[in-house]
Amino acid sequence: MFPKSNPYNEQDVLHDLKHFLPAQSPLKDFIHHNTLHAFQNVKFFEALRYASKIFGYKVSLSLDEYRNHFITGRITNSGLEKAIENRFGHAAIPEWRARTITKKYDLSATTRVGQVRANWEKYYNVDLDLLVHPILFRTICSYLDQGISIWNFPVLHKGFLNSIREMEKNTYSSFFQTRRAKELLNSRCKISDLLKILVGDESLYTHYLYDQQFAHQGWSGIVSAVEDFPETLLDTKRITLKDIIIFELLLEIDALDHKFGEIWSPLGFKIEHKPHDLFEEVKESELNMVMGLWQDAFEWSYYNDVLSAIVQKKDSAVNTEQTSFQAMFCIDDREISLRDYLEKMDKDCATYGTPGFFGVEFFFQPEYGKSYTKQCPAPVTPKFLIKEIESKEDRKMDVHFNKGTHSLLQGLIIAPTLGFWSAFRLLISIFRPSISPATSSSFSHMAKTSKLSIRYKPEVPNENNLQIGYTITEMADRVESLLKSIGLVKDFAPLVYSMGHGSSSTNNPHYAAYNCGACSGRTGSVNARVLCYMANQPEVREQLKKRGLEIPTKTQFVGGLHDTTRDEVMFYDEDILSKENAALHLKNIDSFKKALDLNAKERSRRFALINTKDSAHKIHKKVLVRSVSLFEPRPELNHATNALCIVGGRALTKNIFLDRRAFANSYDYKIDPEGSILVNIMKPLGPVCGGINLEYYFSRVDNHKLGAGTKLPHNVMGLFGVANGFDGDLRPGLPSQMIEVHEPVRLLLLVEHFPDVVLKTIQSEDAMYEWYINDWIHLIALNPETKELHYFQNGVFIPYEPNKEPIAHTSDMESLIEKHTDNIPVHILD
């Protein structure tokens, strides 16, 4: 289950270490993932217990926070009792109630990692971290640097350690202060040789290495990520975790030699009481159980309302006769409210949810781009390349990022002249914020008027083993599987939109985290456009017709982009529309505009500085300003509060106010009785939705160790990460401004299908099954015929009956939004 520390084996230790270190890629490739992915092979609560004990993470809300939620009613009495009953039986309720609600516990925590290395301080009175970290961090950062420094690391091509060796051979200065470390560096010694000098006792080697690397898990994590995926850096660098461990061990020996001379005894000889083995069993304490009960109660108090609402609400008839238009959005939790408003503005339209890469996977190369961006979920490796041509847009430059300002002589000319321009710019950017080169804008990902190389041409050779464009059959395959997966196979409206999404923000190093997760942290506009091009090809339609999927000739697909920060949309290739459709499109744009205003208003209730009672249009204008303001650390709240994922028909959740907390994937069980389509839908849900959910969970419960802390002091390091200040560790995870309103609950995945089909589906792949059998995602199957709910627990589906208490109804959503600034309970809309 967990690795063993002994006997020491270098390869195993390195392999395991890489597994436990943060797996976050550089900033430009920010992709959400389960922060505790290394523990996913065990049950959720067990994982929490081990992670907390071994690495000192805080893994849930505090006891006080739970108890406060109980007092305010966020955790219901029945929720708590149900959680107790579920685990200990009905008879145990009074006893555990008392424990959870009132009993006092010793809440202080001890951590295993760090205990061996702490002995340097104890027995030698030396603070190794203080001596070693600054030079270690700076050397790694300078080596990996992607373009901040003006003068690059002098030797790069040989890999990290060899570059250091080469520099060390030919210099009057040195990384080290003493003789021995230099000699050891050149002797190409192994990790164990160095550990023998430092630690001596082999049974402590593994523990020592964990202590050392987890004293700066951010830097070690990025090194490990770059080692595994060198292409994640544009300016690729060869570096391994082993390299930096050896370098750090040498620096440690150097620091000790410098202080004590070359004669000092290894740490292992001094330690009187050996600390606990890192991976030794962690017994479940009463406090662990109490916290587990609270977490369950916290989650189910909320889920119960959602499930009750689904059961209680009247079936809403969906009009398919004369649909005005159909629109596909990303499953992203930020899109659900826009869909609600769109359907409200135009009662005859229909909206769908599907992962925002729209089933077309490729690399994208913008015009003049020197490399590619991946436009599909992270685990997929595309074989296709789409190129942008005929883009007419200029990129604006900003002299403030110019390196000349840092040179002595140019600076001498720039400072007294440009400096006054800076003052003016600062004035403008505070009183009249507007788009500037500092803004990362979703609309500039691809030029509106550019063309794309979507159709494969046999005469054009492959580029880097990537086929440029798709053949007709490849196109038809993709269109077919997309439309089938969302259940859009008949009753096509004249216009079908596919809306990718992206985000615009300023002064935001985490910009990639705000974009589409299904497009590897990019904007989804290209995918939307590519899909529509495919679906509009007559040859594709012909092929589809043969396969039994008939799209009427008058139906046209239009690709678009929804900017989730600015609540603006842009459509592409509108010039291909027929005259009738162009007229309809104009009308639809109007519906979009109204819906976007209202969506901005709903979002604004979380923005303390905007008055939610203002008109939607007025609020929307203020929301636009946020996205370009230098001083706005929360341009939008991204996935905060996400808690649900619904796989099923639109009717399931229509007219339920879910407060933008649900991922929604459209799916029609009727055309997929065997669940073969369902498998493909469910496969990415764990890594994408579960990953987002758990990253938010852990960044929220321990923002210091698992999150990035407040972003206000962040300093961009080498263009790939952020750290606090000048000489600190890298900070992976999410900054506090992204997670502060988040409620740390696991994802509840609701699938509209028969339990046996769902069970078969999740069991079809081990990696997928792990998410559910180990309770990292809660799973409910909704029997589409009987409307009964079945909860997946310990490998089987058991019936679940939500409370009978009626769910609140409202017909006035607007005043509901105006009244609340925090989470709004589930409401049924009349």
Binding site: S142, W151, N152, S371
Partner: protein, 624 residues
Amino acid sequence: MTDTSLLHIFMLVPLIGFIISLFIAEKREALISAIAFSTVGLHFLLFFSYFIIWMMHDHNDITIKDFVVFKSTGYEFYLDFYFDRITATYSFVGSLLTFLVSIYSRFYLHREPGYKRFFNTLLLFYLGYNITVYSGNLETLFIGWEILGICSFLLIAFYRERFLPVRNALKVFTVYRIGDVGLILAMWMSHHLWHQNISFFQLRNDLLVHTELESHTWIGIFISLMILITAAAKSAQLPFSSWLPRAMEGPTPSSAIFYGSLSVHLGAFLLMRTYELWENQYIVRVLIILLGLSTSIISTLIARVQSSVKSQIAYSSVAQIGIIFIEVALGLENIALIHFAGNAFLRTYQLLVSPSVASYLIREQFYNYKPRVLTIEDTWPKKIEHSVYLLSLKEWDLDVLMSKYLWNPLKRIGRKLNFMSLKSILYVFAPLYMIGLVCLYNKVTIPPMVHAYVPLFFSLIGLLMVLKAFSENKSIFLAWILIMMNHFWVALAVSFNEDFSFGQVHLYLSGIVVAGTVGLLSLRKIKLLENSLDLSKFHGHVYEHPKMAFIFLIACLGLTGFPITPTFIGEDVIFSHIHEGQYLLAFFTSLSFIIDGLALVRIYARVFLGPHIKTYHETPYRSS
């Protein structure tokens, strides 16, 4: 200009704003920030009107000798204010930037714990800045200087629950403290040179300045050197440069305004202010030019290898300030002022947009990627290239040198003083002090040969006591009491030196006794609540006891001679009784003042700041 007393308003407005801001409830974010930006905005408007009227009139330099704070025979401590184009430029840049940044921070810091603390400190900083730039003599300037020092400490340690900000704040504070000593010694010597606290206005009087300087060349050079040390420390010139990037620990806007622009340019201000003092000392001018030149070259090299955006901006700013130093030394005051304003604006803006560098440069790189950009260094011989690169990566060992040659020796001496304990204080030092007192009253009986060394001996005891307090790792109470006692020894030493009224000693010691007692009581209370308390690590008790932390901070400030108790004036008075030839006595006393301040801030940091020792809540990594 007719009514000169208007100058007061430039100190009063920030003072009033600061005091009001202290009394606003923490939750009222909008009100807190509104007070901050309206205070600064009002200040800016007032300044601007004043400036225009001043320009339309004769635009002569304006000085007002203000209320005399303390006076006795042969000594006068008076506040003095001054207005000329240097003041005008610094005031303009300061209020404009503070105004913009306070509006910026109003939104940027929304929901940040410490919102109120930030704006309180911002206003206090602004007060200190204005006192400094409007000051008319070194004593007034010193008040502002002290306020700036402590505000810097508080802003760098803004994220006080983390280890690195607190440690770096301490580091920066130690460098500032060196500057303070330079200022104290310069004040001491100039008092003896002119037999009065000379004002900047009087410095412009050639006759007065030069007649004295010509007959006392070395004294003049001594004063200039002390001022140069102070200026170099504040403006991060060699060998102090490494503090600047380490100061970038607070929220980005505070780093931008204080370390990008205002605070770091004050060294240049001090040089311009005292220009007349050293303009005829060519050796000093050459020294300043060499210092500026070497700083600008070395910090440019360091800036070139920086791979983090804020440290890159910090070092390139230092390089430009080096050039400003050269301009000042060449007498190009106007150019220096323009250069200062431009550099301050540029670096502030660059720091404020620094988070954008990620998306901007990645985008640039995506479109213009070149595998390896050759730089001038690539044409150097490999061995030279590697050596200079490595040196620059290690910041030319500046950070190491500071601790190696300055602080570590002091700590080593302190550790050798283990015989100082609560017991030995009671049984050895207290009786010794009594004997000293008895001797003081019977001064005539002491032979003159011995008498000459008595003050030195007593001040040495005081110095050793603070050294011990500074390096003490265990007993907090011992450290605290040693610091208090130091002041008594200093008082005793100086009393031996010269006859003067006990009123002056009382003035000096009154603040010490009050602040010392308050501090002792609050330490006792914390100890009772938390059982264990020592100086070996950071405790972070501010997490549970923020009020106590505040009271204790005030006590520390009182004890360190911060301008909130009469001790502040007392310190200056005490120095005026050290004769001009007594370099050693002056050195001991000033050294004990610096270390005194360091030891106090260290105690405050160890008890209240840093990661909280209790682990029932989320705690940060030590390396963050």
